[in-house]
């Protein structure tokens, strides 16, 4: 909120100078528009922030405080809610599972997606168009169409309820998006560098890993951020394909913890569990927010 206050101050500082330069009509219309725009944006910011702040504050309250006075600050900040959440909800274990699955899947899908996109973007061979359109179809159909057969496909391979099974499924469903994004990126890379690498005696393998892949780094970073968010937030695939409680990922664990809280609800611990789940992602977001905003513009939507 301090940013707004600072903005207001600087606005009032500059106002007299600006008024002289502008005709009065334009200046007043500007002010009116700016006031309307600020009101709208502040209203929306409040709608976004209030639930989050409420969860944060409530995570330090006792259940009776939450029930009796939802708006008040806690009398005594109960940090023990976090300890309860950590042990009752098994957050530590699920967090670790999420990290293992998402990091492995992310690494694999970035590597395989880059390889596939590179071949499709820079080589001419029969069947190229077919592969491209089949991938496009994979991106268009809803996952729900595949979910039941996928369950039995994994069972046949002995991969149901295993981490490798979940990782491979994540890779398969993130592959088309990764491929399309990097496809346009690899097309934009200059051909001369590749030629030069070949003339210098590099084979196809070295040309890719030592020349082309490093050049594609900005595109890779953008895709990686979106794949990370998408895979970290994935819910349907683990719920359907990963039912062994020891291997649950964080989203699954949180859903189960919330639905287990039916009688005698420990609201404080539930809120604390939510905070623990959200804060790491929010911190990462605030650090990388400039890059994320840039990635959205770089053609998330092909």
């Amino acid at each position: 909120m301090s940013a707004i206050a600072a903005d207001r101050e600087s606005a009032s500082d500059r106002k007299p100078a600006r008024d002289r330069k502008l005709t009065r009509a334009v200046a007043s219309s500007d002010r009116r528009f700016a006031a309307i725009a600020h009101t709208m944006l502040i209203l929306w910011s409040v709608i976004v922030l209030v639930p989050m702040l409420w969860v944060l504050v409530s995570s330090f309250k006792s259940t009776s405080e939450i029930l009796s006075s939802p708006f008040a600050l806690p009398d005594h900040w109960r940090v023990e809610n976090y300890a309860n959440a950590w042990t009752d909800a098994n957050i530590g274990k699920y967090f670790l599972n999420s990290v293992i699955v998402v990091v492995s899947a992310l690494f694999l899908v970035m590597l395989l997606g880059a390889m596939c996109a590179y071949i499709l973007a820079r080589f001419e061979f029969p069947g190229r168009r077919l592969i491209y359109y089949v991938m496009l179809a994979g991106l268009t159909f809803p996952v729900f169409l595949a979910i039941v057969p996928l369950f039995f496909q994994l069972q046949n391979f002995g991969l149901l309820n295993t981490r490798p099974g979940l990782i491979l499924t994540y890779v398969a469903f993130a592959l088309p998006f990764t491929m399309f994004f990097l496809y346009s990126f690899f097309r934009s890379l200059p051909h001369d560098v590749y030629e030069a690498a070949l003339i210098d005696g590099a084979g196809d393998w070295r040309a890719f890993f030592q020349v082309m892949l490093p050049m594609a780094r900005p595109g890779m970073a953008a895709v990686a951020i979106f794949n990370f968010l998408g895979l970290w937030n994935q819910f349907l695939l683990p719920v359907a394909l990963n039912t062994d409680q020891d291997k649950w990922v964080l989203t699954q664990g949180m859903a189960a913890y919330a639905s287990s809280q039916v009688y005698d609800i420990d609201y404080g611990a539930l809120f604390a569990a939510i905070v623990v789940t959200v804060v790491p992602v929010l911190v990462v977001y605030v650090i990388f927010q400039r890059r994320i905003a840039g990635s959205v513009s770089q053609g998330t939507f092909r």
Binding site: A3, D7, V26, S29, D30, F33, A34, I36, H38, W44, S45, V48, L49, P51, F71, M115, C116, I119, A121, F123, F125, R128, R129, I131, Y132, G138, T140, F141, F144, L145, A146, I147, V148, P149, L150, Q153, L168, A172, F173, L175, P176, S184, R187, S188, P190, H191, D204, F208, L236, A240, T251, M254, A258, I265, I274, V281, Y285, S297, G299, T300
Partner: protein, 348 residues
Amino acid sequence: MKDTTTISDTASSRPVPAARGGRPRRRKLTFDRVTFFLAFLGIPLAIFVTFVLIPFGQAIFWAMTDWRGFSPDYNFIGFDNFTKMFQDDVFLKALRNVALLAVCVPLVTLTLALGVAVAITLGGPSKGPVRGIKGASFYRIISFFPYVVPAIIVGLIWAQMYDPNAGLLKSLLPKLGLDSWLGESASAMPALMFVIVWGLVGFYAVLFIAAIKGVPGELYEAAKIDGAGRFRTTISITLPAIRDSVQTAYIYLGIAALDSFVYVQAMLPNGGPNNGTLTISQRLFNVAFAKQQFGYATAMGVVLAVVTLVFAALVFLVNRLTGGGENDGKKKARGAKARRAGAMGGAR
């Protein structure tokens, strides 16, 4: 580097698979090259075919069987699953709910996202080059927040907000004559829609901000010299220029709304009052993994896929038919803006 310009053009629309920028070419085959091709194309495609393509294919076949899983016996029953489905009141209710979501959620989300994006990018003083509003990055960061929070957590946070015993919104209930936000048919669906919109607006606002920034500044300068006001500039310059982004966003939002699985599982796991918020995805999940009726469930998946494709085709069609690329969402967004601006007397 002259390739770059042509490529960024194709990247902004759909990439054309024809060889254009990168000069793909054939070379003679060597051992190195063959292994390179096999590894680079073979491994990703093998994973994709095994875990995406084959399940999609199997789904279409299983949708025409009465298979109940875990036993190898099944009968081919043609379209019986589909006839059964369209006589099933619960499924029809789910279909109606999902259609309602697919109509309302994209409209509201896009209107809000466009409003936020226009306010942020074009809200600055009209003297000099087009500038953003003060505090633009602050607003942008805040409005993107919900997208970063896992959807299941968004659902859980709002389930608590709506909770009739502990929720922050419980004090509003008596004023509206309700007992519970999610427990009454009148409020459950709007409450659900609000949460989905809350979770998605930020992402599309950031997308539109990027699209608006890509509009050449000269266009705005020219409009200003011609005496166009902000409202006029928004509908005559900004919206046509970001038409493709709006269309894509509309399709993606529609697909998200047709699914909605995460949100309903977090807030209304039992389908809501009188199945008032039951979605096809939820019904499919229960029929498959609770009742083991796998043939019937995959048939529902086929219907969901068809509905999704029809939705996407409709958006494309409307976009094509209206020539200038207007689609439903934008026209209504326009109307809403006109009303707002008119009421505030800001438009010239």
